[in-house]
Structure formats: C-alpha cells, structure tokens
Subunit: 277 residues, 2 copies
C-alpha cells in the first residue's frame, strides 16, 4: 500500500500530468524554461521531506527539506505552493487526522521555529511574490533566513504568519481554514469518472472558477485574475473547450499556479480516501 | 542531491515521459487499459524497494519489494523489466561500483535466495512471458513462489537463472553482461541535446535499432520483432518520423517493452553521471 508520503508524491505527479489545465504545465504543454521534466524531478526530490513529514518531523523543517529537494532541477520553482499544502496534509493523514479540523490542528500547533524554516525555504528557489502589501505586518519572505531574528523577536509562529497572509494568498487562506476547498474538490474527484489525468484537469477547472488565482493576480494584476476566473467559468467541465483556453493562456503566460497547488492537495486527499489509479 | 534510489525513480518517470517512443506508453500516447497514470503510480510505488536496494538489501528481496510496490495501480505490469535492471544498478551506484564490471560483480554475487525472491515477484503482476523454450532448463517463471523448492534443490542462484535466460531475453542478457547497451546509451544521452523527454525518446529509438525487442518477439513472433527493428532503423533519430511510427505501432499494439527497460537503465546511468534535468 502507498503511504501518505507516497500519495503526496503521486498527487504531485498526477497534478502536473492532468490535462488540459489552462495556462499551466501539463502532460501536453510546457514553457521553454519550465518543462514537464522539471516537475517530475521536483516530485522525486521532494520525497525525503514528505517522508519526514509523515514521520512527524516539524512542519517547517519537513517543508524546507521538501523545497530543497525539489530545487535540484533547472526549472526553478515547480511545486513550492503544492508542498506547503501537502506537508500538513501528510502529517494529518499519518496521524489519522485527515479532516478539516484535524489538519487545522496540525497547522495550529506550528511554532516559531516552523516559521523560521518556512522563511528559509524561500532561499532554495525563486518564488514569484510581489512587494508585501502595506497592511501586511510581516517580514518580506524574500529576506529568507535573514528574517529569522525578527520572527523570533516577535515570537511569530507559522500559523500566525499564515493567518496574517491569508487575506492576500489563496494557499495561506486554505492552510488556516482547514483546507475546505481541497477537501470539497477531493470529493468531486472521487465522484468523477474518466482517467486520472482528466479528473485532475476537471478538479483544476472547478477550483479556478471558485476564486481569483493568487499567482495570476501577482503576475498580471487583479483584473486579469478575475478575467481568468470568468473565462474558466465559461468553459466549465468541458475539456475540449479547456484545451482551447489552455493554448491561449500558455501564449499569454497566464499561469494559475495557486489553483494548481490546491489541485495537488485535492488529489492527495482523494488518494488517501481510496481513489484507485 | 538526488540519491541513487531517487535517480532510479526519476529514470522511470523520464522513461515513460519520453516521447515519441513508438508503440509504448509515453507522454502523449497510451492504451485504454495501460495509461500514463499507471506508470506514475508504479514509479512512486517502487520507491521503497529502490531505497532498500540502495541500503544494500539483497537484490532479489529489493526487486520483489519494488514489484510489489509497483503493483498498486490498475494497469498491471508497468515496470517489471525496468526494475529488474535498475535494482542492481542502484546497488552498484550506492557502493561506488557503477561501471560494467562493478554492476556485473553485484549481479554475480546474487544467491539462491535472490532467485527465489525473483520468482516470487512474478506473483504480484501478470508478466508477459511465453512457454519456456524447450532448451531452457529452468522452472517456468509463471510458477512464482511454487518454483522455490526446485530452485533450492538445484541450488540455482539468480545469476545462474539470468545466465540461462540470456539467450532468450534481452534484459537477462544485459544483466549478465554488465549492462553494455545501457552504459553506451547513457553516454549518448549525455552527449545529446534537447529536452529530457526528447533525449529519452532518441535513446529508445537507438536501442530499438540494435536488437529485436524481446517483448515484441514474445507477443508477435520473431519476424515482427525484426520488422520493428528495421522500421526503427529507417526512422533513425528523426522524432517527427518516430511520431508517425508511434501512431502505427500503438494501433497494432506493438509494444517494445524490453527496449523501454533498457532505456530506463540508460537514463539512470546518465543521471548518475551528472545529467542535469
């Protein structure tokens, strides 16, 4: 049987293989500098960190180990956000707490050391982030390990970092709310029919309709993020229409990465709940 | 850095992602009952066995663990032959013996217990094998663990099983000869240019030209295996022509699986020798 760490690795692979996922690297599409193979290498490299999470290592340290391992490929940041979601979910599954309240408890137990390791993880790959909003009272993540002193002085736990980030970041919101969108999407994957790569694509499309994608908003502004959401709503579950949209989004380099991060979380939960591949 | 077990897992993933690989499942092609996702799950499932091989477990037991782990997906046998090649190569790499003579020494050290575990591995998935040839003095592998008593009475080591199988099986030949084709193909991968999935495809195409594929010979007879070899020779390194051949071979269900097994071995050696993905 696959362990939670195995299922997390498989979720990373099924996420990137899912096709068509408009704007993202998928089984049939890639960018010149961010290719399918980079995601395969990232998934393999994250293995040790995922197994550490399963073996009850601290969330921050397991996450940093995942990101460090992921970084040994030439595509840069492939799965930073996916791993941020998967690490607490793996730990919840390994301790029989894979429910919204269970994983929320795992997240709430994080410490100041976890926050420092989270910041350190930003040193391994270039993560697409904007200048922090004026009303966000947190050290800039781009400071990496240099932010540790401020984190310690202020006694900020990783939970508190995520809570403060939640209004600005789709992954942080999911993290502090007990992954409600991921758990709901997992149920849809389980109820869906068709191949795993089709189910992954439909999960992605549904999540894309729900909320503006944080990464698109960061890279292209909030108006484009809302437009992407509307275009996805018009496509619905229709994979042929999604394929046409995929060509268009890839050309425009519109990359709904945060939605992919949630898709990976949803696929993980579905695998843990008995989805047979 | 990736460990040998990590590189073996990545080699499995890059092998199946390599495209176009005429007749085999690849990034863009699959069969209704043998899909890309089955190979992803097989690669993840083999992880524990590959890590056991790296940690110096017995070859037979590590291989059986790989196959058992690989079997937790609905495609049946995805990577039995790949793993048969990768397990001794991983162990050779982990003990700084990754050369033809080094891996041959690893294989030569196998025992009767390794042979019994090799037979047991056939119980986990349906492996495509014919009735054993009349001149092959070995228990039928389809007997699985039931063959153990005969193996023990005759004192057959895994090395001897492979030596006897070598005239009939491309993987067994590679195994007892120190993987000469895999090491040569790895050098070509390192010298090649282009994306990882293109390099994997060209490695496959070159290996397909060298010898008739054992699995094609088993499933369609020796004449078809020779014809496949000739068709591949006419295509050469040209991936556009290979794509056309791929459509034709998939329609005819011609699946050069043994050549894919050698490709995975070649990709592993290339990764160990510094190939950057």
């Amino acid at each position: 049987m696959r362990t939670p760490a195995d299922n997390a690795q498989l979720a990373l692979l099924l996420e990137v293989a899912g096709t068509p996922k408009p704007g993202n690297v998928d089984r049939h599409r890639e960018y010149d500098d961010l290719r399918f193979e980079h995601f395969l290498a990232g998934s393999v490299g994250a293995g040790d960190g995922l197994r550490a999470a399963e073996a009850d290592a601290a969330i921050g340290s397991a996450f940093e180990e995942c990101v460090e391992g992921m970084s040994h490929q030439r595509g840069g940041n492939t799965q930073f956000g996916c791993l941020l979601n998967l690490v607490p979910l793996v730990q919840a599954a390994a301790s029989n707490r894979l429910s919204p309240t269970g994983v929320q408890a795992v997240c709430r137990e994080t410490t100041v050391a976890d926050a420092c390791d989270f910041y350190r993880a930003f040193e391994h790959v270039p993560v697409a982030v904007d200048d922090p909003p004026a009303d966000l009272d947190l050290p800039d993540v781009r400071r990496g390990a240099d932010a540790a002193m401020e984190i310690r002085e202020r006694g900020l736990t990783l939970w508190e970092v995520m809570e403060l980030s939640a209004p600005h970041d789709g992954n942080a919101r999911e993290w502090v709310e007990g992954f409600p969108r991921s758990f709901a999407a997992a149920e849809e994957v389980l109820a869906d029919e068709g191949t795993a790569t089709e189910r992954a694509a439909r999960a992605f499309l549904r999540l894309l309709v729900e909320e503006p994608d944080t990464l698109v908003a960061t890279q292209h502004g909030p108006d484009v993020a809302r437009e992407v959401q509307e275009r996805a709503a018009a496509v619905g579950d229709d994979l042929d229409r999604a394929a046409a949209l995929a060509e268009e989004f890839v050309d425009a380099e519109i990359n709904p990465g945060t939605t992919a991060d949630l898709t990976a979380a949803a696929l993980f939960v579905a695998l843990e709940r008995g989805w047979q591949v």
